[in-house]
């Protein structure tokens, strides 16, 4: 079995599991309690905060623990909107291919009277800093652009976009859920004001993440209650999860170069192998992409049937097909880079784990090639394309 859906979630690392279990067993006190049990838990919590902060170039007080990436995205955007509103600034800039945690929050704000500009991500899936700058207005209160796209893996020019935002005095948030642990992040050097992350995408546990918010940014509470997280996020802290997240992050950041050196040649081998399938196309820029991400469209087939047959062959992958999402439309990301519905339905994402081997790559290339050929063999769409009745798109 090859697990090639690491953009969906990752396997917890052994050391993160050890931290999780040890913390559950030994440090079960409530960090808000003043006795020894509580203070030990508080220490674990604050050590984790220091560690996470140092791994992204932030200060501990700038790290707010959350239930994951979606909560962090919601809180960052809502906070910036509330701050902007006070000054009469109700314009937000984002992109058409953000995660739904961002897009749906923006839609909610739109109903509250905010003006939202969604920037073009172009055919290669990369936002241009000059287009960000051109979109900034007097009333812009936030620019929120993801660090790396979750479907097509394209990495955005974050430092440049951050510099543009800083120049114009606009807050800049980035959803770094897919990027963190894969690319080097330094929030100060890269001019990032707010950043969202989720532990389970980098071999930590599910249900835990964090929001980095530069000091001075007044956050809005999403959850009211006790005074945890400096009064900005009520609820007893998930101490074991947070500790395990810090362990997992330390590990991936330490191995970032090693992992990239291992993954990039394997990724590129798979890309070359799949590109050899007739009428297929890579989605997203070939170079400026996560070391783990491969995303293709295959003309004449539908993605869900491809996934099911790959599962039978022992490959766990994902697709942007409408049938895998339960909606009628295929992936908004693929549509945003200009893929038409007909081919967007036939997409495949392989997101590699660090333990992937050359043999796995060969196996996956063959499995995908055979399955695409098989599905095309009885596809009326493919028949029409081959017969010249309809023109090939890819």
């Amino acid at each position: 079995m090859i697990y090639a859906d690491n953009a969906a979630t990752t396997k917890m690392s052994e050391s993160a599991i050890q931290t999780l279990v040890a913390t559950i067993k030994e440090t079960y006190g409530n960090p808000s309690s003043l006795y020894e049990f509580g203070q030990k838990a508080k220490e674990v919590l604050e050590n984790a905060r220091e560690e996470v902060a140092s791994l992204i170039g932030a200060e501990p007080r700038e790290i707010l623990f959350t239930s994951g990436g979606s909560e962090a995205d919601n809180q960052a955007i809502i906070s910036a909107a509330k701050l902007g509103e006070k000054e009469g600034k109700k314009h937000i800039i984002s992109t058409a291919f953000e995660h739904h945690a961002v897009l749906h929050t923006l839609e909610k704000l739109k109903k509250e009277g905010f003006d939202i500009t969604l920037l073009d991500v172009h055919a290669n899936g990369i936002v241009l800093p000059e287009e960000v700058e051109a979109a900034i207005r007097e009333d812009t209160c936030l620019v929120t652009i993801m660090y790396a796209n979750n479907e097509i893996g394209t990495i955005q020019p974050i430092a440049e976009i951050g510099a543009v935002c800083r120049k114009h005095g606009v807050l800049f948030h980035t959803d770094a859920v897919q990027a963190i642990g894969h690319v080097k992040i330094d929030v100060k050097e890269q001019n990032i004001d707010m950043l969202s992350a989720s532990a389970h995408k980098f071999h930590g546990p599910k249900g835990v993440g964090f929001l980095y918010a530069k000091k001075g940014i007044r956050l809005t509470n999403l959850i009211e209650g006790g005074a945890q997280e400096r009064g900005k996020r009520a609820g007893t802290e998930n101490v074991p999860g947070i500790a395990a997240m810090a362990t997992a992050l330390r590990e991936v950041v330490k191995d970032i170069d090693k992992n990239r050196e291992h993954l990039v040649p394997i990724r590129d081998k798979i890309i070359a192998g799949l590109a050899a399938i007739p009428h297929s196309a890579l989605n997203g820029d070939a170079a400026q992409r996560l070391p783990s991400n491969i995303n293709f469209c295959f003309e004449g087939i539908e993605g869900e049937s491809l996934l099911l047959l790959l599962d039978d062959k022992g490959v766990a992958a994902s697709s942007g097909s409408a049938c895998t999402s339960g909606s009628l439309d295929p992936s908004h990301v693929l549509l945003a880079i200009g893929r038409v519905h007909d081919v967007a339905h036939g997409s495949l994402r392989l997101s590699l784990g660090e333990d992937v081997t050359e043999e796995d790559a060969d196996y996956m290339i063959k499995a995908v090639k055979d399955t695409v050929e098989y599905l095309r063999s009885f596809s009326p769409v493919w028949r029409n394309l081959v017969a010249g009745k309809t023109p090939f798109i890819l």
Partner: protein
């Protein structure tokens, strides 16, 4: 929990009656690529009995399984009986489909209707 019943997976993995009938008496195609599902049915009819049926499908697992099951349900049947085939019958024969996949069974029913319409039209002409 599996997404699909064993029967759906069986018909998806080993679809029955896949292919083309070159000299078909009735051909029907429904759906569109934009929505992600296209089904094409080919019928061979002799004395108002469906003697052979083949299909081609572009679509998800349940679309392929629905096409396959629908061909099984009408093969060897009189045209009049095939006309009575409902999407519920296709879904039931597959031991059910998830609610949001029921349209696949509707498509199978419509593909057969379209092929039978084509047959009637050719017969009149």
């Amino acid at each position: 929990m599996a997404l699909y019943s064993e029967k759906v997976m069986d018909h998806f993995r080993n679809p029955r009656n896949v292919g083309v009938i070159e000299d078909a008496d009735g051909v029907g195609e429904v759906g569109n690529a934009k929505c992600g599902d296209i089904m094409k049915m080919y019928l061979k009819i002799d004395g108002d009995v469906i003697t052979d049926v083949k299909f081609e499908t572009f679509g998800c697992g349940s679309a392929i399984a629905s096409s396959s099951m629908a061909t099984e349900l009408i093969k060897g049947k009189p045209v009049e009986e095939a006309r009575q085939l409902t999407n519920q019958a296709v879904a039931e024969a597959l031991d059910g489909l998830p609610a949001y996949k029921m349209h696949c069974s509707v498509l199978a029913q419509e593909a057969i209707e379209a092929a039978l319409d084509d047959y009637e039209k050719k017969k009149k002409a």
